[in-house]
């Protein structure tokens, strides 16, 4: 397994910093959006797009690509930032987020955004789609993998567990789900709204290989994706322990920053804090 050497880690850390800047400045410009759950997923998205996924920014519809589905579609700003970092479109375009006529809708749209594999925003739908493309890859005999990012609140949707059974039943080892385990949803802490109980035990009981990691630790994230590739006959879920609003002190672990954009003053403070 590749261990990162220092310069590479530096590069990735730079990707992450820029992605956080974009999340904050674009939601500020739009005057709305979801910074909390975008910031919690920065490291996972950076590793996926910069190191793990086989995609071609010049040819987003390349038929041998790995797929990524942002099932928690409200984190569109982090997806757009990752796509721009990877070169799917110019970074300046990020500033058009949520404006009439923009290619960057409030929630991801495969109709108009290069690199977005499916429209999302209605929570709970992504894992089924990942299963579909994974089954197709098996039929075609390709090495393609399907990645799907789920919210920890999102997995209260029944469809997620219907899909979890499908992945296990069909032994879809080319499916890799990541749960952004930030412990907050819209109305409050997940445990208070509707508890998940033992999340790891749930996935394992559904026939999945489960890996628990620090979802902000680049090396751990990278290793978990590499391990997942080696697991045969079972899908893998990565339970990424994260902090909602990560990187901005006044947003961290604050449910109030789920769906509110920073104003100019808050943006200025936030940008100074980023490392």
């Amino acid at each position: 397994m590749v261990q990162f050497v220092e310069p590479q880690l530096h590069e990735l850390a730079d990707n992450c910093k820029r992605m956080r800047q974009w999340i904050l400045t674009t939601t500020n410009k739009a005057g709305s959006g979801h910074p909390g759950g975008s910031l919690s997923a920065v490291e996972v998205m950076a590793v996926l797009y910069m190191k793990i996924m086989r995609v071609d920014p010049e040819n987003p519809d390349w038929d041998r690509r790995d797929y990524f589905f942002l099932s928690k579609g409200h984190a569109a700003p982090v997806l757009y930032a990752a796509l721009a970092e990877r070169g799917f479109f110019p970074a300046e375009e990020l500033m058009t987020l949520r404006q009439a006529g923009s290619r960057l809708h409030g929630h991801p749209s495969s109709e108009c955004t290069p690199g977005v594999d499916i429209s999302s925003g209605s929570l709970g739908q992504g894992l089924s789609i990942a299963n579909g493309v994974a089954l197709a890859a098996r039929l075609k005999g390709t090495e393609q993998r399907a990645y799907v990012l789920l919210g920890d609140g999102e997995i209260q949707e029944g469809q997620v567990w219907e899909a979890a059974m499908t992945s296990a039943h069909y032994k879809l080892d080319n499916v890799c789900a990541i749960v952004d385990y930030n412990r907050l949803q819209l109305d409050g802490p997940v445990d208070e709204v509707k508890t998940l109980g033992s999340l790891r035990a749930k996935w394992e009981a559904f026939g999945w290989n489960a890996i628990e990691i620090d979802g902000h630790h680049l090396q751990e994230i990278y290793n978990s994706f590499e391990k997942a590739k080696e697991v045969k006959g079972r899908p893998t879920v990565i339970l990424a322990h994260t902090v909602k609003g990560k990187g901005v002190s006044f947003m961290e672990n604050q449910v109030g920053w789920h769906g509110v954009a920073p104003n100019d003053e808050q943006l200025e403070i936030a940008l100074k804090e980023l490392r």
């Binding site: 949520r98 999302s120 109305d187």
Partner: protein, 313 residues
């Protein structure tokens, strides 16, 4: 018409009042209680509030169970996810079972604005209208919203209420009466009848004023109950003016426009034009820009009125 009020705010407050008067009223939400403002009810009556998490199908089914046991649950979620994801549960567990569940669809029409196409509920009325036994209501503004909530508290059986997020103009008179299934005539005219619901009523009233200046006199009728449709009121108006325009913040396919067209085609075929969303998805933009982009404008109502008038000649 400068005063505005967010329908959801009026809804949240009216629900608290209703809860104070009737202990059987329960409120269920799907992780949207701050946006739907059922959080007000939760604060007042924590033991009669249940958060089902992000699980709309489970939300509706739980509501059905509570109704079966004699309670009056109001189940709340965003209109698109609620009527879309849980349609089958609403169909079988609520309507076919004929249970007293009040299905409350929030963030309706263009009111989620920049959230974009996935989040704009533009088909919910159609979905709910198609269901036997379902009552479908879209109040014109916050004032009427409060009256509708009160009326739902007394109503028995399945019902759907559409609630907008953003402040909209107040056109309703506090004293005006609200009866489920009875349309309210705001203006009476000779040349055409405008039938509107929701936020489009205020635009219909503006259009009527502009038309008046051009010598065209129109009815403006608030069809707050889309099902059961007030057919006697609508047929009376159509026979008087001989031309009908509908206006709604929703797809015209199966919405108010569709409902009115079904009624008129079978009973009194007169020229009809429908102002509403024309078989398309939305986009990400603020509510006023969305109204422009989707053609939900005063100008389009005026244009449609002129078209129906010339069509009847």
């Amino acid at each position: 018409m400068s005063k505005t009020l967010a329908p959801r705010e009026a809804f949240g407050k009216a629900l608290v009042q209703l809860g104070a008067e009737n202990e059987d009223i329960l409120v269920l939400d799907a992780d949207c209680s701050k946006a739907t403002m059922t959080s007000l009810f939760q604060k007042e009556f924590p033991h009669r509030f249940f958060n089902l998490g992000i699980a709309e199908a489970d939300l509706v089914g739980t509501g059905a169970g509570l109704a079966l046991a004699g309670k009056t649950p109001f189940v709340n979620a965003y209109a698109n996810f609620l009527t879309g994801r849980a349609w089958d549960q609403i169909r079988i567990s609520v309507c076919y079972a004929n249970l007293n569940v009040k299905v409350i669809g929030h963030n309706s029409g263009t009111s989620p604005g920049q959230e974009g196409p996935t989040h704009l509920p533009l088909e919910d009325i159609t979905l709910m209208r198609a269901l036997p036994r379902m009552t479908v209501i879209e109040p014109a503004d916050g004032v009427e919203m409060a009256k509708a909530v009160r009326a739902l508290g007394e109503h028995e059986g399945p019902a759907y209420l559409r609630v907008g997020r953003m402040p909209t103009p107040i056109v309703n008179r506090e004293a005006g009466r609200f009866v489920i299934g009875k349309a309210n005539v705001y203006l009476e005219g000779k040349d055409a009848s405008i039938l509107a619901c929701g936020v489009m009523l205020s635009k219909a009233l503006e259009a009527a004023e502009e038309l008046k200046a051009e010598g065209i006199s129109v009815d403006v009728i608030n069809v707050h109950t889309i099902k059961p449709l007030d057919s006697s009121c609508i047929l009376e108006a159509a026979s008087r003016t001989g031309a009908v325009v509908t206006a709604e913040e929703h797809t015209v396919i199966g919405g108010l426009g569709g409902a009115v067209a079904e009624l008129l085609a079978q009973n009194l075929p007169v020229p009809v034009r429908m102002v509403g969303v024309q078989d398309r998805f939305g986009l990400s933009a603020k509510m006023p820009e969305l109204h422009e982009a989707l053609g939900l404008t005063r100008e389009n109502i005026i244009k449609a009125v002129k078209e129906v008038i010339s069509a009847k000649k």
